[in-house]
């Protein structure tokens, strides 16, 4: 059913007039032009479309937009930009953590949600938090090392409030 839905996306209030059964992934990509969350499987199995909804990382392909009234959504675009990169993005480049990179947008979102909950995760906690994300190129170890490196950088130099939603 077409209706008005209010969301906060990457810190910005957005009003949408859309069919409330559409997926959050479809709406992000086709209505809001946010393309970092990508279609991978449409079943919540692979994590390429992960976004943060009120603090939790979830598969955007499994969220009907009609259920998200008033929720705060963060996509990779809201985590950092080339001009103002998040420590995770710096660490992923430093560790060369990725190959084809199709999974990375979702994994970076998952890692951000993890570090928000737990600023000092062990390797096992990182593996567990990311275990619903698939990576076919086999960059897993570099990715986990990059999350550890970012956590270390963030503990040394916490980000000022207001940067990175």
């Amino acid at each position: 059913m077409l209706r008005d839905i209010g969301l906060t996306v990457n810190g910005e209030a957005r009003r949408l007039h859309v069919d409330d059964t559409r997926t959050l992934l479809d709406v992000l990509r086709s209505e809001l032009d946010l393309k970092a969350a990508r279609f991978g499987c449409g079943a919540g199995h692979c994590g390429t479309c992960a976004v943060i909804v009120d603090g939790d990382d979830v598969a955007a392909c499994q969220q009907e937009v009609g259920n998200l009234e008033g929720k705060a959504i963060t996509t990779l675009e809201g985590i950092g930009t080339p001009e103002r990169p998040h420590p995770l993005q710096i660490a992923f480049i430093e560790m060369q953590a990725g190959q084809c990179g199709y999974c990375l947008a979702g994994i970076l979102v998952g890692a951000k949600a993890l570090l928000d909950r737990n600023p000092n995760p062990s390797r096992a906690e990182i593996a567990s938090a990311l275990s619903w994300h698939l990576c076919r190129c086999g960059a897993h170890n570099r990715i986990m090392a990059a999350v550890e490196l970012a956590a270390e950088h963030m503990r040394e130099a916490p980000m000022p409030q207001g940067v990175a939603a």
Partner: protein, 704 residues
């Protein structure tokens, strides 16, 4: 000097390098980036030869007519073949510029040096650079073959780590074909035939439009090709979902689930290529035989295949993430009936393909629709179930090995017999072509140049293990697989290496020798000896425990395709009800290393993909085709199952020919896992994958 093949086939320097923009160097190659780091390595080679900084390079996205034609990006050959060509092209271009500078300055060319593009004469700035000289240097000339590239001892950029040029965009969320949108673009989904002989008998178009909730959904139907087009992606998705429910097909494929198993391969129709060598005379040497197998494997790209096309004023433009723009143009021309000269194919990155997945087909789908709807940009995105269900899969293989040991316990005779589907469809038989009812046509990619009488087959790569074996025979049966098969990372090489290197452990046991010592006794190449001994050292081979304790350490070695990288691997693992990987090691000598960290990234990724194949993966067939169409049906190795992987590169062979690394670690990794599982269990499993059920059967058998 002899001119490298790719340069000889595209013999004009300006096809490869140019100085049109002040301060920038245009580099064009025919290989494509899919995250393997090819562009970065090739850029390093160009920067090295031209003496310019990496930040001056503008590496052109491969596009027909703009880029040299280098066929497909396959076989771990980009660094070797494309790298050699760009090196020669840049060396020749540099020499032309140096000659021009020497003329201007009235000095000897030998006095000229170049520093980040600026020309020095006798060590002093000359005021000249590439861009100032560009108007008087004609690069629209053929290479002379008379310029010698820099010796490796002078290299400052090649051989050092360089961050991948493609990675930053990916970390900030950009980069993919899947994200391109154009004004007025229509989203398309294509209904797939259940088998090449299936005919569409009925389609309830009104019901499909109702299900889509969009009366404007357009249904394009021609023979057995059916596409649903809408400005709304959700509507196009809903339409194909409804169509799949209601479509009626005659002569749909009906496959027995037994065809999923490699035991079925021997019964399939096959073309056989027996070994020309005679079998050995009867002897009383010790003889051993065993059979190994790997089932059908999915490429498993993280992003389903995508294609974008627009047909305007007789010009067809196609964006693709397939492995080569020129071969795809030939295929599109044939399927769409448009002259190649009127087709532009532009590569844009997608998810990793690891071989021939659905990417060619998706581009052709988009082109087929675009020529029937001129003026409208058409975006085709396959669904996850299309990618799993209709891509050409990596073929199943069954490999039977027989060896004889002489009185000293050395291999005297080795015979390999292989049953395998095709590894290289030659990019023929695309889905849309069949669905449109076009007549069968030959593949568009010719086999690689080989001496007369030599047959190329992906199935026989590394068919004989990499040891000093006096007598060897290879027989191959190329079977007609029940589903489409094509290239998957390494073709038959990793499977043959898996079989051979597990079998070598069996032979070592027969000879009563330690597996690493048995290998070393039959290797004479010092580069091979180094990777074997170094890997044994890294993994603590001398402290390897007894067999059948539940903990295993396995080893393997091979020289990729008998002429490429030397690779040894070791794996430590634990087996209880299933296999848990504890650690993996790899030492590789790939000759000259261009980008060490890039090569390590490829080797690590190869080890992990191989572990996933070995422990988890099997495409299952049933009924209308492939039955494993979700990630739930087709699990791969996850973050919490991946072990630490230590990769060491040999860095003191920089004067040797450079070999690729993308495919080379998979075979040794799978074999080391097989050997480690045998060590842990005290019993050998030979059929992949090593699932919980197979482990349980092996344990039961060894208990009884």
């Amino acid at each position: 000097m002899s001119i490298p093949a790719s340069l000889a086939a595209n013999p004009r320097l300006d096809r490869w390098v140019g100085f049109e923009e002040p301060g920038l160097v245009r580099i064009a190659v025919g290989k494509v980036e899919y995250g393997q780091g090819a562009m970065t390595g090739l850029a390093q080679i160009a920067a090295e030869e031209l003496d310019v900084g990496m930040d001056r390079l503008d590496v052109v996205n491969p596009e027909t007519d703009l880029s040299p034609d280098e066929g497909l990006t396959v076989g771990s050959m980009s660094t070797e073949s494309s790298g050699a060509s760009i090196r020669f092209a840049c060396a020749e271009a540099r020499a032309l510029f140096v000659a021009a500078a020497a003329r201007r300055l009235g000095c000897d060319p030998a006095e000229i040096e170049i520093d980040d593009g600026a020309f020095l004469a006798g060590g002093e700035p000359s005021g000249l650079d590439y861009w100032a000289l560009a108007p008087e240097v004609d690069l629209a000339v053929a290479p002379t073959g008379e310029v010698t590239p820099k010796p490796p001892s002078k290299h400052k950029i090649v051989g050092r780590d360089h961050g991948r040029l493609d990675l930053p965009a990916k970390v900030f969320g950009a980069a993919y074909l899947h994200d391109l949108a154009q004004p007025g673009m229509l989203h398309a989904r294509v209904l797939r035939q259940p088998g090449f002989h299936a005919r569409l008998a009925g389609l309830d178009e009104a019901a499909i439009r109702r299900a889509a909730g969009d009366e404007t959904v357009e249904i394009l139907r021609e023979a057995n090709f059916v596409a649903f087009l809408s400005e709304s992606e959700a509507a196009a998705n809903a339409a194909i979902g409804a169509a799949e429910q209601s479509a009626r097909w005659d002569d749909a494929r009906d496959l027995s689930p037994a065809l999923s198993e490699t035991a079925s391969l021997k019964a399939l129709p096959a073309q056989s290529f027996p070994s020309p060598e005679p079998p050995p005379e009867r002897s009383n040497r010790r003889r051993h035989t065993a059979g190994y197998s790997r089932p059908y494997i999915a490429h498993g790209s993280m992003g389903p295949s995508c294609g974008l096309a627009v047909f305007d004023d007789g010009q067809l433009t196609v964006w693709t993430h397939a492995q080569g723009v020129y071969p795809l143009r030939m295929l599109i021309a044939r399927v769409c009936g448009v002259e190649p000269a009127s087709i532009k194919v532009i590569h844009t990155q997608g998810a990793g393909t690891y071989g021939h997945n659905g990417s060619d087909d998706a581009a052709i789908d988009a082109a087929v629709i675009a020529v029937r709807r001129p003026g409208k940009p058409i975006r085709v995105l396959w669904r996850r179930e299309d990618e799993f269900g209709h891509e050409p899969v990596g073929t199943a293989m069954h490999v039977e090995l027989t060896a004889e040991l002489d009185a000293g316990g050395r291999i005297a005779d080795y015979a390999t017999e292989i049953w395998s589907g095709s590894h290289t469809g030659g990019r023929g038989r695309c889905l849309a072509e069949t669905a449109l009812g076009l007549p069968p046509a030959p593949p568009i990619v010719p086999p690689p140049n080989l001496p007369a009488g030599v047959r190329f087959s992906g199935g026989i790569l590394n068919a004989i293990p990499s040891y000093d074996i006096p007598a060897r025979r290879v027989t191959e049966h190329v079977v007609q697989a029940p589903v489409r098969t094509s290239s998957l990372r390494g073709l038959g090489g990793p499977v043959n290496t898996y079989a051979n290197e597990c079998f070598i452990d069996e032979l070592a046991e027969l000879a009563g020798e330690d597996p690493v010592a048995f290998r070393l006794a039959q290797i004479s190449d010092p580069r091979a000896i180094h990777v074997v001994t170094r890997t044994a050292q890294l993994c603590g081979w001398d402290k390897r425990g007894p067999a059948a304790t539940g903990r295993g350490l396995g080893f393997a070695y091979c020289r990729y395709r008998d002429r490429g990288a030397y690779v040894a691997a070791a794996v430590a693992l634990t087996v209880d009800t299933e296999v848990r990987l504890d650690h993996m090691w790899c030492v590789t000598d790939c000759g000259q290393v261009i980008n060490p960290d890039g090569a390590k990234n490829q080797l690590e990724g190869g080890m992990i993909m191989a572990a996933s194949w070995a422990l988890k993966e099997q495409v299952r067939l049933a009924g209308r085709g492939i039955a494993t169409i979700t990630w739930d049906d087709y699990p791969i190795l996850r973050f919490d199952e991946v072990p630490p992987v230590d990769v060491e590169l040999v860095m003191d062979q920089q004067d040797q020919r450079s070999s690729g690394t993308g495919e080379v670690s998979l075979g040794p990794a799978m074999a080391a896992i097989g050997n480690a599982v045998a060590h842990a269990l005290g019993a050998r499993l030979r059929d992949l994958p090593f699932t919980r059920e197979r482990i349980a059967r092996a344990l039961l058998a060894s208990d009884s």
